[in-house]
């Protein structure tokens, strides 16, 4: 009988150690309201703290806490403090739905924000739509607007909003013969649909394409075909770790040279960091936010400074998205004078500039974020810029988020 008890004691001890070791940046939980008083306005966050997007979830949780603390310090919203209730959806779509349900039924939240995977966004939307609760989707999805609830908004960038600007830039600055790599899921298919529609108009020839399964670690089997086609641009829509692997392998096989440029469909601070300067130097990428774009957008500088002061690292695009979300919600509640979902939803659409210029429109709750094309720095260039650890990119072109970027309503 003694052995199991001993083991149980050891386990409890390890639990305690881990729980204590978790700093603010890594623990979900409840944010404590300060400053304002009164019945708190509850915001539920659903994010994947385990799995491949865990660091992005942390960014969003951090940004949410920063925004909430700033708002509460300034007196809260309608005299009431904001309160965060953070849940882990474990990167599973059904768990995201369940957490949303739990937040609505048990915690009675006024608004839900999250998550990082597109499937999870749609799952949460299913629930909030049926329950009549406000929902802000904080990661990229192009399908959400087709089935959104009337109180659903999308504060992360969408492919169709980014496409006109970035495709045009690439065709004019990098080349017109493209080999395109799509990740084989909704996100990649959306991009393929967009390219199929617009390529000829831009004068672009797609010399070949690859539909790579999501989570492909080994692109080396695709590389010989790409090399043989000798494209001017290799356009990689695979994101995150997939993109980094492709870059590694392509570099090892000598795919990128003076004649063949590479364009990353989307990247972010943490991805660039894990890739390292050697891989991203002199490559180009689309970024929905870059902390170093302060000369173009003063709000970016202010946000980056506040975030960095608190968390020691600059914010990435996901942090910007969540920060905007909380601030937009607070603004809308103030404007509506109530937390009633239909009144707040009516007050949300409009232009905002908390981290960079954005525009949220009324017909489908979609957002136009500022889009930036960034060129990767070498380690030396980063040192010269004064920030050897984080000056990963420099802004080459950008377009401020405005209504004109969005495709016509209902498309």
């Amino acid at each position: 009988m003694r052995k199991p008890l001993l083991l149980l004691a050891v386990w409890l001890a390890s639990l305690a150690v881990v729980a204590c070791a978790g700093e603010e940046a890594t623990t979900p939980g409840t944010g404590t309201p300060t400053g304002a008083s009164g019945q708190p306005i509850k915001i539920g966050l659903v994010l994947p703290f385990v799995g491949v997007y865990a660091s992005l979830a942390e960014s969003q949780a951090n940004a949410a806490r920063l925004a909430v603390d700033e708002i509460n310090a300034a007196g809260g919203v309608l005299g009431r403090p904001l309160q965060l209730i953070i849940r882990d959806d474990k990167l599973q779509t059904d768990e995201a739905a369940r957490q949303a349900q739990s937040l609505i039924q048990q915690e009675r939240v006024d608004m839900i924000a999250g998550t990082i995977h597109a499937g999870g966004n749609l799952a949460i939307n299913s629930v909030t739509k049926a329950a009549g609760v406000l929902y802000f989707a904080t990661s990229a999805t192009d399908t959400l607007r087709k089935e959104r609830g009337e109180y659903t908004f999308h504060t992360a960038w969408a492919q169709s909003a980014a496409a006109p600007f970035v495709l045009d830039w690439v065709s004019k600055n990098l080349g017109r013969r493209w080999w395109v790599i799509y990740p084989d899921y909704a996100y990649g298919h959306e991009w393929k649909a967009i390219l199929d529609r617009t390529a000829s108009r831009l004068g672009v020839t797609i010399v070949g394409e690859t539909m790579a399964p999501l989570g492909t670690t080994d692109f080396s089997s695709y590389i010989p075909s790409i090399a043989r086609a000798n494209p001017e641009v290799v356009y990689v829509f695979s994101a995150g770790g997939d993109m980094v692997n492709f870059f590694k392998q392509a570099t090892a096989f000598g795919l990128f040279d003076a004649d063949t440029k590479v364009m990353a469909g989307i990247t972010d601070l943490t991805i660039d960091k894990s890739a390292g300067y050697d891989l991203i130097a002199n490559t180009h990428a689309l970024l929905p936010f870059y902390w170093g774009a302060s000369s173009q957008y003063p709000s970016t500088g202010r946000f980056a400074q506040a975030y960095r002061a608190r968390y020691g690292v600059p914010p990435d695009g996901y942090a910007a998205i969540m920060y905007d979300t909380i601030k937009v919600y607070a603004e809308a509640v103030k404007k509506a004078g109530t937390t009633d979902p239909s009144r707040v939803a009516a007050a949300v659409p409009g232009s905002y500039d908390f981290t960079e210029p954005i525009f949220i429109r009324q017909c489908d709750g979609e957002i136009a974020r500022t889009m930036i094309v960034g060129r990767g720095n070498t380690a030396d260039q980063a040192r010269q810029a004064g920030d050897p650890e984080w000056a990963l990119r420099q802004v080459v072109a950008s377009a401020a988020g405005a209504e004109s970027m969005l495709p016509p309503c209902g498309q």
């Binding site: 881990v18 399964p213 670690t217 089997s221 010989p224 980094v244 090892a252 096989f253 890739a275 050697d278």
Partner: protein
């Protein structure tokens, strides 16, 4: 034709890496009859140890030696305290234990090294390509595959030509009889377990410059390794090599024409093998 040739080369090179990893799993299964679910997590741990060494010491080749040693140390502790007490019990406790271990190892990596991946660069002397006429082949991948082949041959030599190898094979075949004949079965099992881990570490370090290093890399590759081991033959070293090369080849060729089928193809292959010839290509039963 050239296209096929280049796909074949790449597929075989990747297959060597898979074979290293699968050989470790197969050896462990042959010895202890345990399907080691933690093999993927151990692979990840090996990769991170490798990264740590490259990061601190600056030389890639030291990582190739250091990571296996590190994993062996981990293996000794794990085997003594966590696996050995379970091996005499009937049932599937070792399986559940390896499940739990895979979570523990993966999450410890996440807690210790952070949640995003780490970059491991190709050692300077190996960057660049080898022009082969019909394609340019990555110098690093070529050298890594060559090293992998050497390691596999060495392991095969140990297993087939040395006394130790004979003892290992004996214990795998019939541990009760081996014990009756005076062989220290516990000692042998520990050796084989550590050997399996060392192979995994080598595979991890060799692949790191091309695949990167991130906490979930173990889970991603785990099921593929199972497929290799099954197709090659559970418990058979030669089988893992053959299986690894075959799976690498199949994946590479399939992705040429039908990239979406790249992952299903190996499962279809696995079910066909299991239905037609369950002991695999080279397995004994």
């Amino acid at each position: 034709m050239e296209e096929v040739a280049s796909q074949v080369l790449v597929g075989l090179a990747n297959g060597v890496m898979l074979a290293l990893l699968a050989a470790g799993l197969s050896l462990i299964f042959g010895q202890m009859n345990v399907v080691n679910f933690a093999h993927g997590a151990i692979y990840a741990l090996g990769a991170y140890l490798g990264f740590l060494m490259v990061d601190r010491l600056g030389v890639f080749w030291l990582a190739l030696v250091g990571a296996p040693i590190g994993l062996i140390l981990v293996g000794i502790v794990t085997e003594r305290w966590l696996l050995r007490p379970l091996l005499d019990r009937t049932g599937l406790e070792p399986l559940l234990m390896t499940f739990g271990l895979s979570y523990v190892i993966t999450e410890s990596i996440r807690v210790g090294f952070g949640k995003i991946g780490k970059p491991v660069d190709i050692p300077g002397e190996l960057s660049g390509t080898i022009p082969l006429g019909f394609m340019d082949f990555s110098k690093y991948l070529a050298v890594a595959a060559a090293i992998g082949v050497v390691l596999l041959v060495l392991t095969w030599l140990v297993l087939e030509r040395t006394d130790l190898g004979r003892i290992i094979r004996a214990v795998a075949q019939d541990s009760a009889m081996s014990m009756a004949l005076g062989i220290d079965v516990i000692h042998v099992r520990r050796i084989v377990f550590c050997l399996g881990l060392a192979l995994a570490a080598l595979a991890a370090v060799l692949s790191a410059p091309l695949r990167g290093v991130h906490p979930d890399m173990g889970l991603e590759i785990l099921v593929t390794v199972f497929v290799v081991v099954v197709v090659g033959g559970l418990g058979s070293f030669g089988g893992s090599v053959a299986g690894g090369l075959l799976i690498g080849l199949v994946t590479s060729l399939v992705s040429m024409e039908w990239p979406q089928w790249k992952d299903v193809a190996i499962f279809i292959l696995m079910s066909l093998v299991l239905l037609a010839r369950p002991r695999g290509l080279l397995g004994r039963e």
